[in-house]
Symmetry: C2
Subunit: 473 residues, 2 copies
């Protein structure tokens, strides 16, 4: 790749600056006048719509139903589960007035909706016949943040939150793991991002959960991003909210519960895993525009006829295609298409038509291919898009595999962390060691991995537990 785009800072000059350059210049988002609240521009929102469409279909196929719960939570409701309020209260935006009047009780903008689902479930579930309940909600949530970055950490973000209740522990645990797996499959099949998955430590788990499972992805700068979580709650909330049902033997039992969420943060992951110094590189299946046709000499009627013909044949295959008919130079259009990360660019001019061909440029590796214009063109483009997806996934997977290290000494740990990515270490399970490691290296425990004998990297105590450490967003 030749860096051709001066509007974007190079990654090795300043990765953080490169990231915000891409976000802004590819017109994915803009800042609003409230800190931490971004505007999702059409191109960025369309990526989210494609993620929504994929997941919503999967959720429905696996027996989930969409609902919508209130935006505001009474303070007293959030307080019903002790760990939960401790985790979320400090992040809440508080409504104290409505229609010029002071409210009797403060209302919190939902930072997450467990408490609302619990209150509703407690009301509508009476019998084992009512179980399971598997609800999902698409909405925005607000969590007051001091340091914010587009898509990665904001005071408001878009997400889905699934909330389910079950008659048995086993069923609830299965749901927790199934949904984590749905997330991982989506990341692979739609976003071409390989994920490391596992259970969070006690310190890092969700406020109120028994177990939190996470998927974590590796960015190009070697830092790691938590990309989706699935929680098993056991009966904690059930007891706090009195969520009981009559079982087949007419006994009152508490339900078992899960929740799982995935957010617009995934847009950030997609940018940081795949893109380069010339701008965004979007995996084809999530790209709002998959193919852009750039007519060389659009004033030539033949050229436009061919461009329209190609467009139509691609549309018949449900490929998302556009023609750039603006009055800019072809070179300018090329770099604009690169900036926006459009997977395939088709160039067609009078010379191409004379040879009954067009030139196809792949965004991911800058390869140019000359293709004959005939009935098979659209099939070829379709398979090129699949190729691009697979190449992008393989590249990301190779990078991930090259950055899963092991360390047995603190020296080695620091050295490996310098190289970026995950470092697998033995850990005694003590939160003090976890805190000390963070203090001294800046790395946090991302998730537990396999059980294997060893000595805790910090206190040297014998242990069976291994954990992934990484510097994370």
């Amino acid at each position: 790749m030749n860096k051709k785009n001066d509007a974007i800072t190079a990654r090795d000059v300043d990765f953080a600056k490169w990231y915000t350059d891409v976000c802004l210049k590819a017109e994915l988002m803009d800042y609003s006048s409230v800190k931490g609240f971004i505007i999702y521009r059409p191109y960025g929102y369309a990526i989210w719509e494609n993620i929504q469409k994929y997941l919503d279909e999967r959720f429905k196929k696996t027996g989930h139903q969409n609902v919508y719960m209130p935006l505001l939570i009474p303070e007293s409701l959030l307080k019903k589960e002790a760990d939960h309020v401790e985790g979320f209260a400090p992040e809440c935006a508080v409504v104290t007035k409505g229609g010029y009047e002071n409210l009797e009780e403060n209302l919190l903008i939902r930072p997450t909706s467990e408490t609302l689902f619990c209150e509703h479930y407690a009301k509508i579930v009476k019998s084992y016949r009512d179980l399971p309940k598997k609800y999902n909600q698409w909405c925005s949530v607000v969590r007051w943040e001091k340091t914010t970055r587009p898509f990665l950490r904001g005071s408001e973000f878009l997400w889905q939150e699934g909330h389910t209740i079950h008659a048995t522990e086993q069923e609830a645990i299965e749901e927790t793991l199934n949904m984590l797996n749905e997330y991982k499959e989506m990341a692979k099949n739609l976003l071409a991002i390989p994920m490391v998955t596992g259970k969070k430590t006690e310190k890092e788990k969700f406020a109120g959960a028994i177990d939190t499972y996470t998927m974590e992805s590796l960015m190009q700068d070697g830092k790691v991003l938590q990309s989706g979580t699935s929680h098993y709650f056991g009966q904690g909330f059930a007891k706090a909210f009195d969520m009981k049902y009559l079982d087949k033997e007419n006994q009152l039992k508490y339900v078992y519960q899960t929740s799982w969420g995935l957010s617009t943060r995934l847009i950030g992951a997609t940018i940081m895993v795949h893109s380069d110094d010339n701008g965004l590189i979007l995996p084809p299946r999530v790209a709002p525009i998959q193919v852009i046709i750039i007519p060389i000499k659009p004033e030539n009627e033949d050229v436009m006829n061919y461009a329209n013909l190609i467009k139509k044949s691609l549309e018949e295959k449900n490929i998302r295609v556009d023609i750039d008919t603006t009055l800019k130079t072809p070179g300018f259009k090329f770099s604009e298409a690169e900036m926006r990360g459009i997977p395939l660019r088709i160039e067609i001019g009078p010379k191409d038509i004379a040879n009954n061909q067009c030139v196809v440029a792949k965004r991911n590796d800058y390869q140019k291919i000359t293709i004959e214009i005939n009935d098979e063109l659209s099939t070829k483009i379709e398979s090129l898009l699949d190729d691009i997806h697979n190449e992008m996934y393989e590249k990301a997977l190779t990078n991930l595999n090259n950055h899963i290290h092991e360390a047995t000494t603190q020296e080695e740990l620091k050295d490996k962390l310098e190289q970026g990515g995950f470092v697998k270490v033995s850990w005694c399970g003590d939160v003090d060691c976890e805190n000390k490691i963070k203090e001294e290296t800046g790395a946090t425990t991302r998730c537990l991995c396999e059980n294997e004998s060893g000595n805790c990297i910090y206190c040297n105590k014998k242990t069976e537990t291994k954990v992934y450490l990484a510097k994370a967003y």
Copy 2:
């Protein structure tokens, strides 16, 4: 129709109670612990998803793009347009604290997002080449209300808000009228609801608009419901927010602007236009379940095989179909299907199978039809669903036409208002007369109709203006 369902109050006993009975018993919604904030349950939310899907497709086909703007608006931003803040400030929920700290400036939960769109447009639009911008947003908004009713009036509701800017007045006015027409077509084609459309009076128009166009529907109790509005703003907001662009002659010009919104209130309209004393009656195209198959003796293997066969053949036609396999009696299942407003119910038992037939019951008119089970079954069901849609629309249209009255004296006006529906009267255009009419009759101006000579119904002044009056929700 025989009233068979004691769980629902009859319409002529208490229409308001009937309405909330249907909302609750058909499990469309539930109350939350915050007044005016409802829970959209799966069945109710699925209706909204079908409305969304229809409209979103139309919006995209007509060149609109989806975006997402922040939930919170700085108080100072709302104040930039004088009429707008006067209209909305009294209804706002106010965030005064974020993460335990008092905010420097109060933030308002969006009651509508004109100001946010204006701020963004002012920033991104430079030249005539950037115009038009046609954005839409799906979200929830908060307007603090004293009296609330499910779907009809709530402190939070779901909606879409379109916001567009244009280079010329003509283009903006066309957009305003086109979108009103899109709404009207959707109401007709999806919800089987006929609408009365027209321009609002000065008093009733949107805060900050030059013209507001509305569509109004007639409920079964004779009251009228504002069901969607489209606003033409001229350059009012453009001047307040400095939304300028360079035209082809390199002159700085202000843009012309529109906005248009439609909300979950339409669910309320659908209920109140079509349903009866046995529960909900849903128009087929918006119904989450279009056909319910009720096996008589589901323990009979043949019966279940046939039920599954029918289900499969309907699914191949993309008909939304379900089998009720619960252990309730057929009679109970019938009234449950009626309560939920499922357009068609298929009854199939051993006797039917012996005769190679099934019984199909239409929800809208309780007609029962015996249909042979063969290759044409699914085509017949498909056309029955279309029949139901048309019958429901025609019935609603006849009712509407029977309730468009005229009056030339105040006596006559009161008499006609008693009969329910719209009353067309001459009106001088003076807001004092408008206020007096409301005071004395309880009716408000719904929209202007054709220009025709007459004398103002209140002050007797000569006028060319006629207006629709009605008692409204």
